[in-house]
Symmetry: D2
Subunit: 284 residues, 4 copies
Amino acid sequence: MLVQSSYGKSRVRLVQLQRGRGRHDLRDLTVAVRFEGDYEESYTDGDNTAVLPTDTMKNTVYALAAQEPVGDPERFGLRLAQHFLARNERLTRVRIDCTDHSWHPMATGTGEHGQAFVRIAPGARTAIVEATREGTTVAAGVADLVIMKSSHSAFDRFPRDEYTTLPETRDRLLATALTAVWQYSRTDLDFTLLWGDVRDMLLEVFARHHSESVQHTLYAMGQGVLDTILQVTAIRLTMPNKHHLPVDLSPFGLENRNEIFVATEEPHGLIEATIARSPGGTVL
Amino acid sequence: MLVQSSYGKSRVRLVQLQRGRGRHDLRDLTVAVRFEGDYEESYTDGDNTAVLPTDTMKNTVYALAAQEPVGDPERFGLRLAQHFLARNERLTRVRIDCTDHSWHPMATGTGEHGQAFVRIAPGARTAIVEATREGTTVAAGVADLVIMKSSHSAFDRFPRDEYTTLPETRDRLLATALTAVWQYSRTDLDFTLLWGDVRDMLLEVFARHHSESVQHTLYAMGQGVLDTILQVTAIRLTMPNKHHLPVDLSPFGLENRNEIFVATEEPHGLIEATIARSPGGTVL
Amino acid sequence: MLVQSSYGKSRVRLVQLQRGRGRHDLRDLTVAVRFEGDYEESYTDGDNTAVLPTDTMKNTVYALAAQEPVGDPERFGLRLAQHFLARNERLTRVRIDCTDHSWHPMATGTGEHGQAFVRIAPGARTAIVEATREGTTVAAGVADLVIMKSSHSAFDRFPRDEYTTLPETRDRLLATALTAVWQYSRTDLDFTLLWGDVRDMLLEVFARHHSESVQHTLYAMGQGVLDTILQVTAIRLTMPNKHHLPVDLSPFGLENRNEIFVATEEPHGLIEATIARSPGGTVL
Amino acid sequence: MLVQSSYGKSRVRLVQLQRGRGRHDLRDLTVAVRFEGDYEESYTDGDNTAVLPTDTMKNTVYALAAQEPVGDPERFGLRLAQHFLARNERLTRVRIDCTDHSWHPMATGTGEHGQAFVRIAPGARTAIVEATREGTTVAAGVADLVIMKSSHSAFDRFPRDEYTTLPETRDRLLATALTAVWQYSRTDLDFTLLWGDVRDMLLEVFARHHSESVQHTLYAMGQGVLDTILQVTAIRLTMPNKHHLPVDLSPFGLENRNEIFVATEEPHGLIEATIARSPGGTVL
């Protein structure tokens, strides 16, 4: 018995260049398309008569981009979702995931160059659109935004058992690769403006928070977004705790005044939570 | 409002060596621990009094391994889950994920060497244990098992629209990196024996199936497992379609008799489904 | 017969924090140490009496950082190289490789925050020091600086044979992940100032060049550095050609006015050259 | 002044299927082509008249495979090298790097299946061909063969200074990801047979050696190959020391009888050496 299924195309790489006078606009996206619907016969009987090929999904990404500039990734996701819903009767739920790889105009001696770009990646911008026959939801996010704070971060007063060796600290490095997704209340917003606002608020709270733990700071970051950006109904934050361990210098007759650390990749803590305006709040 | 949260430790790397006479047993695991429970105060108030440090979770992995050999990864997951549930009042749900990195005794001129090993990785073995105060569930799986079939694979009779360029074919390469997770009906099984049985069945069906699509073969593989291995209640299969495209040799005056392909990484199809004995069947 | 050998420690991860008033300075390095010397007995006889453990090399990285701030990665490389040469009689050549992971003070509503940082990575800064009993050489570089230009890039008038299908073009996207290493004439320079000058020059020429090929632009970039920065004696540039292929939209009845591209990862061109002031010029 | 240059195509992905009766032969290669020669004008003047496009190099890989089965990767490298040398006057040195991704026929209940395959990767087979107008050299190798030994591995009697904390040990885990390249004396050998012989010898010595250090075992492995396989003139081995550190269980009141280890990724030791029959011996 088929209790759940989906199919689609991942990692469709689209670059669109708009050639303005002197200045080019560059949009670089990785797109994924996922279909859910009444496709049981394709699984049970090998009947493909309703199965839009994933190759056609890919072609559609390029064809729609060619007919109208991509613009915001959320907007492009909406166009793709509506297109697929309108064309595929068996489709009940379509999801579009976009990752926007940001290119910045290159700085030169005489200002920004309009036709040369640097890929700078302090976390990728992501957008998710999910549409059914009943309605459409838009979410946005940031992926792998690597941040660190070197003050106002503590972890103490935790329970100890016979396997606990961690010392208490009121002053540690707190580093993470932030991934967040937040859900919007509507589908007709200025998504690029809002995206910057949310990201700035996440960073602002992270920088200023007097942290008792990753959990504590994660919650404050989500709360900061919900308090100030009314178009966001819920936010999910994922924050690995990328440990920076003070190096024991005592064997060398040296003191570590909390200044020399080894950055580690594994193991790492992993803290995740969803914060919403109302009990039923969810995020795509 | 905190609508969902979890915290834990990921990528705990444990190697256990059991020194038998002449022959060593080597177990190499990557373990992740995840807690859900009544930890709201740690998020909202920075109150850590109930928060078992993730560092202690890590230490516990090593300490429990030291007290009794790890054995099956499912069995070790059960021990860890019970340990944490018994010790942490606020904990309502604990999940242990183990990935087993298989090492094989090295073949030498005079047979297997008992104390030298090769890491061979035709897909990693995975195990998941989830425990609450009400009950415990065990699942197992395989990750990234890369397989290909070069006959009996077709994809045709699909719908065409103005963006469809894919030709129909009755003879294509079908390649995937299979990831599967299957749920067991009980927690006291011979997990290692069963794991081999499930994997073998998955490969057997993949090899023999007359495939009309990835969906068709995926379903047959899951059905094969459910039909023959009664201890499995549901299985989720994820099969990216790693496209191998015939190279167009006509510009060189050559014919491609379906023998020369370019292996591509992106974009790729992505097919996923869960197959269960009963309508409510799920997989961890 | 041992004709060449080296040993050392790679991926030593050092983070140093200097706590100024209000503002912290953060230095994040990955360091590698490599020894060459008269160590034959360790290979042939298992005689370790002269083999400084690689674990001690790692400890030395931390201990020297603790005694004096790291500063420029080139400077830290020089300190490490001199330390090891002075202590190890059998050592004839020591090489230190540093990769500097740049963190930027976080922008907040009221200016830069002095104790919170974002990792922004438009290419990592690298430094190499190699020292023997006869002398010391310093080189610096940039790794994986991803750049693209959308005008003034051509590739045509190339030879054609029966396997050539590439069309000629006077207008293509040119994208690469630049890795460069340049050799300095002395060891007492302002390395941080120079590093910025070299990187800016590389980008400036890349942006402005009327490119006939990757080779053509690579050479101009190297020449630009040698022409303007006298402290550089030679430079090696490695530029993969990260192809952006125009999508064929004609099957959809659409025209591609050189605006819609698929970004590809493989295969890729790979162009590499060393440009020097004099015939014998080399780069570490 | 251009003191060194090369250009070429990397990561050309070729899959060739030979359809025998009942049984298919599958060859899966990643190929890189590199040209050195009199191409200065392309760098200095943007003159492409002698520059074979790297796209044509890629097409040639597919076209030559179509005309005659690939066979041994060394053999295919020789064909490509000769083809390019014969066609390109300015070319003085061509290098072909092949990585062979091994697929194994799938085991089924009734024996091996001839048309279904599993990718098993205990180290990839590599082949290198370099050809000039004067002669041709063939080398082969293995990449990232992950191996471990749990007995007969020591490291002690090393020098200690004030930064040394490593304890001496007569019993440690020794793990590495072996990469080796060996040079053949001729170009008309049975490369597949020899490749297996060399790999088996490397593993055999690794398993049996009473190791005083990585250096010691590395040398013995190379010596074992040179002593028994006369067609090999030199071999270069690269062996990262993938540390497995005993976990300190004493805080938990437990003893670690050298049985519980943490596997680490970084930092790691890195040992490299070339062993040859004669003083001038080198490896591609």
